[in-house]
Amino acid sequence: MAKLSLKKLTKSYGKVEVLHGIDLEVDDGEFVVFVGPSGCGKSTSLRMIAGLEEITSGEIWIGGRKVNDLEPKDRDIAMVFQNYAIYPHMSVRKNIAFGLWNAPLSKAEKAARIEEVARILDMSELLERKPSQLSGGQRQRVAIGRAMVRNPAVFLFDEPLSNLDAQLRTQMRLEIKKLHQQVGNTIIFVTHDQVEAMTLADRIVIMKDGHIQQVGTPEDVFHAPANTFVAQFIGAPSMNMLNVTGAGDEISLSSGIKMQPGRQTQTGQPLLLGVRPDDLSVDDQNPIVTGKVVVREPLGSETLIYVSGPQGEIVAKVPGKSGVKVGDEVKLGATPEALHFFDTETGDALV
């Protein structure tokens, strides 16, 4: 178990720089999730930590050691791959034992470690099976087992749940979280799924185009997004964005509606107003937008309504029993605390 630090980490393929100076401190025992759209550099960062990709510049420190020039095996890490990378011709036991190939342990000690890991992962009875006789979730567990048996300072997970179906993914998500609470190792987990990131992470690292956009707890990034990208990436459906103009303690929307956001704005300054679908309520006294419901997506406990008005289309999440119908005229509003303001030019949040 150890701290992990990335210092000014960059990666270039030829002349193309894909990672532009990543700085990050991960505490001992922390569960950190890297999340972002494909091509954002999250997997590249992980592979650089693992030692599978060369570091162009910058430093990686694991447990107080600079590991830039260490082989993967000497970095005190273990990795779980997206396709599990478990060997189809070996039994589960042999697959897990492969992680201990070079460990300075006696045969009996190795066997005991394997048994223990199998017990923690609840697959003691699967040890003699071949991977082809396992389900997707069980294979996933074998891959985790092979990483666990090494008892590394840092666990690296590269989109490990992407190959599972939705139900199993939710289940494995829970198991990984429980496992982390049980063993307490530092974990770096890469995913493109923001729900996975939110549910698993102690802290989320949101990346885009080789830059870190925001680092924070799930609550931080959800309630106080650093910029429009984070605001729209985290949370489903995405945050609504409206063009507004500041006017002292008022703002005016392009639809002509004026409202008091509870803060001062510069008169005449164009701003982006962000509001989450969850924060909008129907028939508000102080509406932000008005319009006609064009599409209804019932999800059971909630219903998503798409409201079309002069300001464009907006999504709102209303209670499932609210009885809003397609064609209804609705007035949507939100409390001032639920409003987010962003700079139109840079997209950065205005505090």
Partner: protein, 299 residues
């Protein structure tokens, strides 16, 4: 037409299936199975290609059993198989393994290895024949002479001739095997190697514990395919020993060449057919044996 319409969907499917199957069935029946069957029949007969066929029972097989040339040829054929298959397997794997890792001029190098496979066996055999000539003509002996090493009688020695004939045959088949091996290597996911790298496993262990076991289906295919090739070797031998086919003293003669000579030099069709049947049985047995051994514990 109305009769067709009254058929159930399943019956219609059967009608169409047989319609499509008719051509290959006819083709295989006439071109493959009929002659094969005839060969079996002729092996129990006496026939000189022009005269009457007369039944002779097992006498062709008895003659074969007591023919010292047959046993010599039998040993030669297995020598080609037992030396050729493993040697070509190892060489082609080593080439494919390294070529797979080479990025420099990858396509060009692959083309170079594949080129011999596309070249006519006759042309190749004659070039190799030239390589094997004594000084001052032959390439190899010229090298040996310039290095001060005594000459080697490649094709004129009863002990050297068989390996000397086998070498170009192995070389010619290499390109194909390399391509198949490379396809097999490419099919192994990169993450298997990355996982092994993180586990700190050495390259030899990776090769023997991961690469080779995962290449098993490829190896089975190549072994069976090249074994059949070596058991049926003919053109290389025939073209490299034209003055005295299969010589010197039958040292290089494979079964197919013996069949050819029995049939078209001695016109003893019955005897040739009996040899063919034996070759067929050997091929069948060897192939089944290999499939059984190599596929044995695969789940």
């Amino acid at each position: 037409m109305s009769a067709y319409k009254r058929l159930s969907i399943r019956q219609k499917q059967i009608v169409w299936a047989w319609l499509f199957l008719a051509i290959p069935t006819l083709f295989y029946g006439l071109i493959r199975f009929y002659p094969t069957g005839t060969a079996f029949v002729i092996s129990f007969q006496d026939w000189n290609l022009l005269g009457e066929r007369t039944w002779t029972g097992l006498s062709n097989y008895q003659k074969l059993w007591n023919d010292p040339v047959f046993w010599k040829v039998f040993r030669n054929t297995f020598a080609y198989l037992i030396i050729g298959t493993p040697v070509s397997l190892v060489i082609s794997f080593v080439i494919a393994y390294h070529l797979d890792k080479t990025r420099f001029m990858h396509g060009f190098l692959r083309m170079l290895y594949f080129l011999p496979f596309m070249t006519s066996a006759v042309a190749m055999a004659w070039v190799w024949r030239w390589f094997y000539q004594p000084v001052p003509i032959g390439l190899f002996n010229n090298f040996l002479a310039s290095a001060g090493i005594p000459q080697i009688a490649f094709l004129n020695s009863t002990t050297n001739a068989l390996p000397a004939v086998l070498a170009p045959a192995v070389w010619a088949g290499l390109g194909f095997q390399v391509i198949i091996f490379m396809a097999g290597l490419r099919a192994i996911p990169g993450s298997y190697y990355e996982a092994a790298k993180i586990d700190g496993v050495g390259w030899w262990t990776v090769l023997t514990r991961i690469t080779l076991p995962l290449l098993k289906p490829t190896i089975v295919f190549i072994v069976v395919f090249s074994s059949i090739g070596f058991l049926r070797i003919f053109d290389h031998v025939f073209n490299m020993t034209t003055n005295n086919p299969g010589g010197p003293l039958n040292a290089t003669k494979p079964l197919v060449l013996m069949i050819y000579e029995t049939a078209f030099s001695s016109f003893d069709m019955g005897y040739a057919a009996a040899q063919t049947v034996v070759l067929f049985l050997i091929l069948l047995l060897v192939s089944l044996l290999q499939l059984w051994i190599l596929k044995g514990d695969n789940s």
